[in-house]
C-alpha cells in the first residue's frame, strides 16, 4: 500500500454527512437495506446530531465568502463551520490570539455565524422557542385529526 497524498483535501462535517446521505444513509429503518457499513452508520449518527445536519452547500459557500475579511486560518474556518459557536466564549478557543487579531470584531463574527449558518438541532436558545410553539400547537392538531377521521 502506498500513500500517494496523505492530505488530499480537508472535509467539513457537512461534506462527510452529505457523502453518506448520497449513498443512502438515513435515520429510519431503511438503513438495513442501504449499502452502508455499520461503522459508517456510527459516523452518520454522530454527524446528524451535530451542527452539520441542517447545513447546505449554499450556507457553507456564503460563509466562506463573508468571513474572508477576518483573515482566519483555514483550520479556524473549518472549526467554526463544524462547531457553529453561538457566543464569544465558544469562539475563543477556536481562534488563536483571538483578542489581538479580532478583538472587538468578535461580536460581528458571531452575528455572521448566526445569520449565515443554521442553528444545530440541540442548541438551547432555539430549542426552547421551538418546544414552546410545538407544545401549544400539538393538542389542537391531534384533536383536529381525530375529528376529520370520525
Amino acid at each position: 500500500m502506498k500513500i500517494k497524498k496523505a492530505n488530499a483535501g480537508a472535509l467539513t462535517n457537512f461534506e462527510v454527512l452529505d457523502f453518506l446521505r448520497s449513498r443512502g444513509a438515513a435515520k429510519d429503518p431503511t438503513r438495513v437495506i442501504a449499502p452502508i457499513a455499520a461503522s459508517e452508520f456510527k459516523v452518520y449518527d454522530y454527524l446528524v446530531e451535530s451542527a452539520a445536519c441542517n447545513q447546505t452547500r449554499e450556507h457553507i459557500n456564503e460563509f466562506l465568502k463573508k468571513c474572508q475579511k477576518y483573515d482566519l486560518a483555514k483550520a479556524e474556518i473549518l472549526n467554526i463551520i463544524n462547531v457553529r459557536p453561538s457566543s464569544p466564549v465558544e469562539i475563543d478557543p477556536i481562534i488563536e490570539e483571538c483578542e489581538k487579531r479580532i478583538g472587538e470584531g468578535i461580536e460581528e463574527l458571531i452575528e455572521l455565524v448566526e445569520t449565515v449558518l443554521p442553528a444545530p438541532p440541540s442548541q438551547p436558545n432555539t430549542e426552547d422557542e421551538v418546544v414552546a410553539d410545538d407544545g401549544e400547537q400539538q393538542p389542537p392538531t391531534a384533536a383536529e385529526g381525530m375529528e376529520t377521521e370520525n
Binding site: M1, K4, L11, V16, A37, S39, S87, V89, E90
Partner: protein, 192 residues
Amino acid sequence: MFYLSLIEHTLRLPPQLLGLPLNEAIKGVLESLFLDKVIANLGLCISVYDIRSIDGGFVFPGDGASTYTVEFRLVMFRPFVGEIITAKLKESDSNGLRLTLGFFDDIYIPVHLMPNPSHSEPDPEKKNQVIWMWDYQEQKFPIDGIGEISFQVQSVTYPPIPVEQPKESKPFAPMVIIGSLDYDGLGPVSWW
C-alpha cells in the same frame, strides 16, 4: 476532523467476486480491507470516497484471483491539534476522563488537563468511577454524563503495536487522542 487521503494499493480480487461489476467488487474489497481501521499517521478510515483508477487485472500463475493496482481516496478521521470537538462522556476515573464519539472511543482527558482547579469525588452510583467537579468562584460544577462535552485536541498519537499483551489489560488502542478542558468555553456544553 475529516480529510481525504489518496492511496494506491495492489489488491487481490477473490474469484467469487468476479461476477460483480468491477467497480463494485473492488470497492467491496477495499471496504473490507480499510474500513474502521487505523492507518498510522493518517487516522481512522471512515469510508471509501471514490476510485480514481484501476490498473492491471493480471492473473498470476498458480493463483485463481486477479490482481489490480487501484488508486482511490479514503475519508480519514484525523483531528488536527487545536481543534474543538464535542463528545459524550464514556467513563471517568481517578486518572481523568474518557470520551466517545460513537465511532471513536479512545479520547482521554488526563488529570493535568482538566479545568483548573478541580477535584474528584467518588461516584455514589457506580463503583470505581469518580465525578469530577470544577471549583470556580466558590461553586462546584460537576462533569456529569448528561449532555455533550467540548474539548480541545492536544495531541494525536499512534502507539506501536505491542508484540504481547498481558491478559485482561485494555484492548490495544492504535490511535489515541489526548484532549484538554482547561480553557474558556470548553467542558460540558451546559456550563456555557
